[in-house]
Symmetry: D2
Subunit: 307 residues, 4 copies
């Protein structure tokens, strides 16, 4: 599709996903068990969320008197510096440190000493995993909603342009009743509207802070769970620590919602493929959007230009 201005955010969003990872990984010393158990090779993506979560946790520790103001400041500055280095591709991840949580915490402690080690007080790695993955999914959902909105705007643009273009409506690919191309494009706007609605419902269910659930049974040290949740943009806090730590419903739900959206995009693609065939010849894609094979002979005149 052409990029009507409204679609830019979607396209940008999409393009950003393709920026390749520049981090360095060291794993020479890791054993078979370490290799099997490590997750840093894929959970490095959680780094901004892990750092945000750690800062919120440290702030709550500080308010509870577990950290001095100076210690909190060292932690926050140390984490921000690590974040910059990861973004810049200069941070070295170690497979022997297993995951993103340990990689960041170990490096922080190496750099600022005792204060870094205090971060672990009243928090378990399970807390971090549960918090980080919720924040990660939330960010992805926001990106997807933006991308879908961009596609809807592009479809509306086409629907307006071809509002009066009459094409066959098919049942079982047999011509049934005439429709307008605009009506056809708007059907997809409806489908995508449901996808956005499902993403929003999924976001609502996952946007609750598990921080404070501990390994599974909470912690004897009481931190301000609501303050941590608010700092991280959560709408509330979870009620049951055993459920909060083990819950992965939001991942399953998000994967379902994305898959169903994929079905809609696949249907749209199939329509375009049919329309661009020599036999249908309803539409053509611009050369800029086709890589084509040497075998492909392009159509000269079609009803619509769909991109």
């Amino acid at each position: 599709m052409q990029s009507p201005c409204g679609a830019n955010s979607g396209a940008e969003n999409f393009k950003n996903r393709f920026i390749m990872w520049k981090g360095r990984f060291s794993q020479d010393t890791s054993s078979l068990v370490q290799q099997f158990g490590e997750s840093i090779s894929y959970d490095w993506r959680l780094f901004p969320h892990d750092i945000a979560g750690s800062i919120a946790h440290a702030r709550a520790q500080s308010k509870a008197g577990l950290l001095t103001e100076k210690e909190f400041s060292e932690i926050e500055n140390g984490l921000r510096k690590i974040e910059k280095e990861i973004e810049g591709g200069t941070f070295e991840f170690r497979t022997s440190l297993e995951d993103i949580h340990m990689n960041i915490e170990a490096e922080l402690t190496k750099r600022i000493g005792a204060a870094g080690a205090k971060l672990h007080t009243a928090r378990s790695r399970n807390d971090q995993v549960a918090t980080d993955t919720r924040l990660y999914c939330r960010t992805e959902i926001d990106g997807l909603i933006g991308a879908i909105l961009g596609l809807q705007k592009a479809l509306l643009d086409r629907a307006e342009k071809y509002a009066a273009t009459v094409i066959p409506g098919y049942t079982h690919l047999q011509r049934g009743q005439p429709v307008t191309a605009g009506h056809h494009f708007l059907a997809y706007v409806e489908m995508l509207e449901r996808d956005k609605s499902r993403l929003t419902d999924c976001r609502k269910r996952l946007n609750i802070s598990p921080l404070g659930s501990g390994a599974l049974a909470g912690s004897t040290i009481n931190l301000d769970r609501r303050a941590m949740a608010a700092e991280l943009g959560f709408d509330g806090v979870t009620h049951n620590s055993m459920d909060a730590i083990a819950d992965r419903d939001y991942m399953a739900e998000l994967l379902f919602v994305i898959s169903l959206c994929g079905v809609h995009l696949s249907r749209l693609s199939e329509d375009l493929i049919l329309w661009c065939s020599a036999e249908f010849a309803f539409a053509a894609l611009s050369d800029a959007h086709t890589t084509g094979s040497s075998l492909t002979c392009r159509r000269k005149k079609t009803l619509m230009s769909v991109n």
Copy 2:
């Protein structure tokens, strides 16, 4: 689980799903093509929704002057009588009439003549399929929400009874921190709460009337879509006929939500299986709820009775 009064509706609901179908099917004359194409052997379940939809449609036809009051009355009474016969198991379904929609319409027309045939005006079978399946899913959702609520009440009952019973909390089935059995039961109440929330969101998205979408491009005869929707308990009407006729998102979403609920029930069952083992011996099921094999030796003393 014991049946605290609150759980009854769920149990009833469940039991009703097991009532076997007593309808009679005639298919002697059907050819291979008919056998391949028929859906009456499973879509007979849609009958109450098909009849409700047809009455709403006929009422709208009547208001639009397409039916006389007498004709509408004949249609409504004819359909109600057919409904009773299907419920009573005396209605004879014909495979040669393909589906529930044709079986009912053909029988109605045979019984009341011309008026019956008029039902098809300004409506297509696609309309009926889309309407009936939405109503069917809505009814199932309402039943499931009731059943889940019953299970939650039973879990709350156990949580209260064993609020002070300390058991191990496990990570990777290694004893981690002590928890109360009540806390453990309440984790499931949370999971089921999310399941209900997902069912409710799914219901919201599907409860929109497609009636009036025709085969795919609407109808030249304008019936009062909002009145029909209101009569059938829909919250609104669909916007795009091509989308409304082809949309099966709600089925995929409902299947996903049920599957995820099944994961929760499977996890609960696994806990009960572990707890009822000789090695854990935390709980026992009453004889009334175990069919058992001759090999099974039952535990004498356990921490909990979970049913």
Copy 3:
């Protein structure tokens, strides 16, 4: 497709799957637990295999001196009579007896007394489930191979008829290189040949007798496992009782193989749908094979008649 004589067995096979079940089920007295635990409503299909397995088992018991010749004869005759009644739709299944194994055994014992009860010696229900489901899958595989062979013959018939008919070959639905319709049909013959090969491999792996595995640890009474296997058409006997009882690999494998065959049939159907469209107009289906909607306008002249 036309029915070239070779395809008849496939069509017959297919038609037979549609014969509806005429058995009578009684379940008035069953409780919720019984309803949850019963499998007779779907495992009644195993009846010929359960009866064949019981006769083989009884013969082995007889050879081992566990049954007199008279007792064996009573058992065999009793089981054959029950089989006839089930086939004739006059046998009454009881939900309270849970499954096909218990329904048959209880009825047999009711009819012939003590001898019937002896059938259970040196055999567990797990033995029966494992044996019956393997025999059931084997029978289905044989039916499927026959049906696929029929379709291959029909495709060969079309390939021969249209061996010189030139049509476009497509990549991404863009015309690529010309091919003959015969070449196109033969591509499907290849796919189906792989499906048959996969069915044959699956059959090879499942066609091993688990009889004698007991509940999970075999039996202290040694029956002639190889003789029972030979009587039931198995190629050998399983090696490990715990594996034999729990193994359901063959079901998963068969479902995969059927699904992949379904993908091929779906691709073939999609080709026919495209070819029968007004835009492609390469082929037409005879009226005998289309149910159609009132909207469908049939093509007059096409390159091929594909059925």
Copy 4:
């Protein structure tokens, strides 16, 4: 598990899969369409197979008189050098060249000129994709069979060691009949034997050369398909070009077989998790194989050491 000598190949095989990719990717100039269409970021893995396939093709071209001996030699040496560079991590992949096939061919042509460009004669990219992915799957299958064999040997080692160790056999996790731990371990040897058998059958079906199928309809230039197949270790050549180019059955089949093997490994893992629990306490894992959490208290005395 301990590494009895027989298991080493499996462990090595497994370890090798974790060696991280050191190749360099350049993509600065690529547009959104290029980013969407590129596959080099994952199909670089095909490089040894693409190179082997190209050498076999060039040799056939040479025999057919399409290449001089000198040209063939330049192509072979050029490809071998590129292979070494990719293995050494010094080859630069370009996203703008889309996939592994174009990356290698473009670089070869840049280095040796005209001869490189001739490689494309009588071959299409579809040929390469179909050939490379078959060779890739074949190599993976051989690795998996080796790894499974290693695990079977380790299981046999445990089965021998604990041949007389009596443990409960369970049905529904209720103690049923006593079995030996050796018998239990051997059940897994059986499951894995079936997995190997399925891998072997899958290998048999995929090990047929599609080279010479062209884009979909073969080539007007006849190369010696059987010689190319033999050089690449294929057992034969495909019969139908349209099927050969589009066939992805072997991928679906391999994924199914691996998934089912995964089910067996998951069941084995579940057994070990149960056995290592404080409640069962049948077995313990050595510290070398557990990463554990700080919460885990290890068992002192158990029946078995399972690794």
